[in-house]
């Protein structure tokens, strides 16, 4: 070895291996395969209308998935987002019904989401309670609270503001649903943050190795706290879109939503152990599952089977990932 030897010059893996090492590329290939399969087998699957519809449906999970991925990357989990969807619809609809103002309604919902995020974040980061337990707890508390408050009856949107309804059926250039536009804008913004802002890299560092991050002088607790706030706020945005879609605050809104998001995030290669994964991967995970569900329905398969297949895919994907890592680490 000479003084000027370069680290990566030797032991270069083959091109194929390197391509597959890029998680996102493998996922993209999967997505294309899913699209190709159903285009061939399901009539009208590969139409602008169906594609944009699915994109609209996926926008909730895409939006909330950003927060879910951030929390995962920081080394924690947040499963309270499904209940949050139902909870924030209450201030949203009630304020809009009272004031006829979308801005005030959305403001109220975001404030509520902020508080929930701070509670989750405080309990995990500063009180040191396990994040699975904390968010499991707040998930139950919020769901129970919504049941109690509504008496299990929907509170309908009586204001019927045009701007609010547009969130559900409006389309940019009459093609792309506004909800998808919102999701894409947020994805790009947060994707940029994760790669190009110091804070984004701090999240990776904290999840990658908490002790190293602490030695490097990071405020590990603050980073985690903020991730929970972002997660709650993005789930709030998803909840607002959902409320617009159903035109009311429903006590069952967002039931099991957290697990769909977690499933897609994990499928997208974001590690539960923290430090690994990208928003692109998460988004591809969401799209694969959404198109799969849409296509299977097109084939006439009942929802029950979709659940079974989704479950198998997730385990297979993570097992594949594990095997790959074990090979990469040579052990």
């Amino acid at each position: 070895m000479s003084l000027a030897s370069t680290a990566s010059a030797k032991d270069q893996p083959s091109l194929l291996a390197r391509l597959f090492a890029r998680q996102e590329l493998a996922l993209l290939v999967c997505l294309v395969l899913v699209l190709a399969f159903f285009s061939a087998t399901v009539e009208n699957f590969f139409s602008v209308r169906n594609m944009t519809n699915v994109l609209g449906q996926a926008s909730l999970a895409l939006t909330a998935g950003i927060g879910c991925a951030l929390v995962f990357i920081s080394g924690e989990v947040d499963i309270s987002i499904g209940s949050l969807l139902a909870t924030i619809a209450l201030p949203l609809i009630i304020i809009m019904n009272d004031t006829n103002s979308l801005a005030l309604g959305v403001g109220g919902a975001l404030l509520f989401g902020l508080i929930i995020g701070m509670v989750n974040g405080y309990l995990v980061a500063y009180a040191g309670i396990n994040s699975l337990i904390v968010t499991l707890g707040t998930m139950f508390i919020m769901r129970g609270g919504v049941y109690l408050y509504t008496g299990q009856r929907a509170i309908s949107d009586d204001a019927s503001l045009d701007s609010f309804i547009a969130l559900s059926d409006g389309r940019l250039f009459n093609i792309i649903p506004y909800s998808a536009v919102i999701a894409i804008v947020l994805l790009v913004a947060f994707g940029y943050m994760m790669q190009h802002w110091p804070f984004g890299r701090q999240i990776y560092a904290v999840g990658g190795n908490q002790e190293v991050a602490r030695l490097a002088g990071y405020d590990v607790r603050r980073v985690k706290f903020i991730c929970f706030i972002i997660s709650a706020l993005l789930a709030t945005v998803a909840g607002i879109i959902l409320a617009a879609r159903v035109g009311s605050a429903q006590h069952t809104a967002g039931l099991n939503f957290e697990f769909q998001v977690v499933a897609a995030t994990v499928l997208g290669g974001v590690s539960l152990a923290g430090g690994i994964g990208s928003l692109t991967g998460m988004a591809l995970g969401v799209l694969i599952l959404q198109f799969l569900s849409n296509g299977l329905r097109g084939l006439g398969l009942p929802t029950e089977w979709q659940l079974v297949i989704t479950g198998m895919i997730i385990i297979a994907a993570v097992a594949f990932d594990e095997a790959k890592h074990r090979r990469a680490n040579g052990g």
Binding site: A4, S5, H196, N209
Partner: protein, 510 residues
């Protein structure tokens, strides 16, 4: 950021008249132990200062105080004449101190360049990270130290030697005035060591004060300008390397006389071979280790940090895989990497890491004790609780284990009593060979002699005891024969009567 070292001559000149770092009267105590007592340590810019001492001498504590990992209980720290207050790793970095720990502190999923600027990424006007500058600066930093690592490489994929270079570059990026290298060569090849030395000399030439923590004499003689020796938490000597010989350094490191603290009760060892290890090698550490342990003897293994004692312990009980060689217990060959047959043949490990490998802290004393012998208490597939409790109670009485009841959670017991419960676990199983790894780690001085008495008794009852230790008094007080390891090899094996501290330490240093 990093202007100084990227563009030499533009930064403030380094004043060689003022000490880079001056630690005075440093004290640090942990519960039950004084780790540092009134230690002075002064570093000059551009000089390489070796910090030496046996395991437990206080080297690690001292550098952790510099790094802001521990706070000090007493004393003052001055950087270039100015008193500083180091309360956290951040403070330490800000004062220009960079400690490269043996356990490398890099994020393995990050690229090399990302790790170099981990403490603070340079940003552009928009607040976005300036990746171009990071890559260029990283390359320039590697240029300065004369070693190139690809800034875009994933850090975790690099060998330790290159990860060290990343840490050194990281030190330069933060304009460190003091760089501490903690046992840097413990996992390097000879080639890599000479590269590292070249880089360390360059650091010194840049005016940086380098601390070289090591127990390897030859390396210290090769690289250091000055040597400070610590022993039992005290400062023993600071001298230019030229005033030292091998013997004077070893003398400073050992110093003490060893009294016979542990009166031996047992008789002479038998002649029956209970454990036979032949040509044992593992992928990571051990190289061709062969020895025998006889029933009724204590065979002590000594070695400095990283010598491979724990690896040997884990390999011979079947806990870790082995690459080649054989382990025979009581005449029967042990299948490698299989603790089940190990336990069945009668070899068990008393781990050095009680908390994570020994105890089930939340469970009661009796369950911890009976863990390895549940089969013996089974009737029709159910555990006969009465029988189990009786057996455990016998051991509690025999070993005078202090616990309010069998149902006490074991985490509430003292370290010494926990250790006794773990020894019971193995004796209950009817062992022929027990491997004890640092049996008195984390145990109060008072309780230590009880553990020694227990080990003496085990051998007296006919077990072969293989004891891994880094503590000289333990070794000389208990062992019938003494084996010494260095870098994965067995470098000496002698009867206790022939052993001296000098002989042992010489073999341990290799």
């Amino acid at each position: 950021m990093s202007v100084d070292f990227l563009h030499p001559g533009e930064g403030a000149p380094i004043d060689t008249d003022v000490s880079a770092l001056e630690m005075r009267g440093i004290g640090k105590r942990f519960p039950g132990v004084v780790a540092l007592d009134n230690v002075d340590f002064t570093l000059e810019p551009g000089k390489i200062h070796a910090l030496m001492g046996e395991n437990g001498a206080g080297k690690s504590t001292l550098i952790k105080i510099m790094a802001g990992v521990y706070g000090k209980d007493a004393g003052t720290i001055r950087m270039r004449g100015r008193e500083v207050d180091i309360k956290s790793p951040r403070d330490s970095l800000k004062e220009g101190i960079k400690v490269v720990f043996q356990e490398i502190a890099l994020i393995s999923e990050f690229t090399v360049a990302e790790n170099i600027f981990l403490e603070g990424y340079p940003t552009g006007r928009t607040g976005s990270i300036d990746w171009k500058k990071i890559r260029a600066d990283s390359a320039a930093l590697f240029n300065r130290i004369g070693f190139n690592v690809d800034p875009a490489a994933r850090t975790g994929s690099l060998p330790v030697s290159q990860q060290q270079m990343v840490e050194i570059a990281r030190a330069l990026a933060h304009e460190a005035r003091v760089v501490v290298m903690d046992e840097p060569t413990s996992s390097l090849t000879p080639n890599e060591v000479s590269l590292l030395f070249t880089v360390i000399r360059r650091l010194a030439a840049l005016g940086i004060a380098v601390v070289y923590v090591s127990h390897k004499l030859d390396e210290v003689f090769e690289i250091a300008d000055t040597v400070t020796v610590l022993r039992d938490g005290r400062h023993i000597s600071t001298r230019p390397i030229g005033e030292h010989t091998n013997d004077t350094l070893i003398q400073d490191m050992i110093g003490r006389r060893i009294d016979n603290l542990f009166p031996r009760q047992r008789g002479a060892a038998g002649s029956k071979v209970a454990l036979s290890v032949e040509n044992l090698s593992t992928a990571k550490k051990l190289i061709d280790v062969s020895f025998e342990a006889r029933a009724g003897e204590v065979l002590g293994f000594f070695g400095l940090m990283g010598a491979g004692r724990t690896e040997l312990a884990k390999a011979i009980v079947g806990y870790d895989p082995i690459a080649s060689g054989t382990v025979t217990v009581d005449g029967q060959r042990l299948a490698p990497h299989d603790t089940r047959t190990g336990v069945r043949l009668g070899i068990g490990l008393l781990t050095e890491d009680r908390k994570s490998e020994g105890l089930m802290g939340e469970l009661p004393v009796y369950q911890n004790a009976s863990l390895a012998s549940l089969g013996a208490f089974a009737r029709l597939g159910f555990v006969d609780k009465a029988k189990e409790h009786q057996a455990v109670q016998d051991y509690v009485d025999r070993f005078r284990i202090k616990t309010p009841s069998l149902f006490q959670q074991i985490k509430n017991l003292s370290g010494g009593n926990q250790q006794k419960v773990l020894i019971s676990r193995w004796l209950m199983r009817g062992l022929k060979v027990i491997v004890v790894d640092e049996p008195t780690r984390g145990i109060d001085v008072g309780a230590k002699s009880e553990i020694f008495a227990l080990i003496d008794r085990l051998a007296g009852e006919g077990l072969a005891v293989v004891m891994m230790t880094s503590e000289m008094p333990e070794l000389l007080g208990l062992a019938d024969r003494i084996a010494v390891m260095c870098e994965g090899r067995l470098t000496a094996l002698m009867p206790r009567e022939e052993a001296t501290q000098e002989k042992i330490l010489n073999a341990a240093i290799g």
